[in-house]
């Protein structure tokens, strides 16, 4: 039962992650304010993906969790990605 004494994440890790997230937020605001045409969407989504990986890895403790939980999370995102691809294939080629 006392295996609850798992890894305690040091405060500075959280502070660094927050700073990185804020930096990425302002970077994504900056990059989307420039006229990049169709690349704007891609740029904004890439920034959002990097941010979400940071949140999942550090804030949601996936880095310190057992690997099978990471595998489950990865599977759900993969499933979601596949559904997006299939839906768009349908709309593009109907």
């Amino acid at each position: 039962m006392s295996e609850e004494k798992h890894h305690i994440v040091p405060y500075r890790v959280y502070v660094f992650v927050l700073l990185a997230l804020l930096g990425l937020t302002f970077a994504s605001i900056g990059i989307t304010s420039i006229e990049l045409g169709e690349f704007t969407v891609a740029a904004a989504l890439i920034f959002a993906c990097i941010k979400s990986v940071l949140v999942l890895t550090y804030f949601m403790h996936l880095k310190y969790d057992k690997k099978y939980i990471v595998a489950m999370v990865a599977f759900v995102f993969l499933l979601f990605f596949v559904v997006i691809v299939i839906t768009f294939l349908d709309y593009l080629y109907r």
Partner: protein, 206 residues
């Protein structure tokens, strides 16, 4: 004495409750994921209208809310560490900050929606149906549904955090039984995660 002996037999399994929380989070991800797909398909089919309607949204208030949610995510993540370090006061303080930021987020959202309402934009409003194009109606419909559903999650998250605060104060959630706080944290990060995608899709991409 007997009560104590009884209390020790209360079933507690941190790993199982964590898996349970993750399974629930998966259903939430797919719920919002479905809405994101609807959004991207309609955007693909109505690019001009989505572009036009997106201009209507206030990037500044969206950015402020993004920063707020990110900070609150850090404070609740930190509170899981302070609980492990047996710093009860700091844990409660960090959770209080998280709750306050969550409320401020909702207040911002109230004013943001209020501005839309005063411009005559709400689902099914006369202005929307008579003046706006099909694509713009879709944009604002999705905007209200998705940010509204997200705000509902903020409210639920706040209730869960307050419940955790209560249990920490009582001492039934402590460094040896931290699962409730950890799961409240996971839920709050999920809310943050969804906002990380809502913000660029609605406020940044014009």
């Amino acid at each position: 004495m007997e009560q104590n002996a009884h209390a020790e037999h209360i079933h507690y399994d941190a790993e199982a409750s964590k898996i349970g929380m993750w399974l629930f989070i998966f259903t939430e991800l797919l719920l919002f994921g479905g809405l994101f797909i609807v959004y991207s398909i309609y955007r693909f089919m109505n690019q001009e209208a989505f572009h036009l309607a997106g201009e209507e949204l206030n990037t500044t208030i969206g950015a402020i809310n993004t920063v707020l949610l990110l900070i609150s995510s850090m404070t609740i993540a930190m509170s899981t560490s302070t609980l492990q370090y047996k710093k009860k006061g700091a844990t409660l303080g960090l959770l209080a900050v998280t709750v306050i930021i969550g409320v401020v987020f909702l207040v911002n959202k109230y004013f943001e929606w209020g501005t839309k309402f005063s411009h005559g934009i709400w689902p099914g409003s006369e202005h929307m149906l008579s003046e706006l194009s099909q694509g713009e109606i879709l944009f604002f419909g999705l905007y209200f549904v998705m940010t509204g559903l997200h705000a509902l999650h903020i409210i639920i998250g706040l209730i869960i955090i307050l419940f955790a605060v209560f249990r920490i104060q009582k001492g039934t959630v402590n460094e040896n039984r931290a699962a409730l706080l950890e799961n409240a944290g996971l839920y709050w990060h999920l809310v943050d995660l969804i906002w990380i995608f809502l913000f660029p899709l609605f406020y940044l991409i014009h």
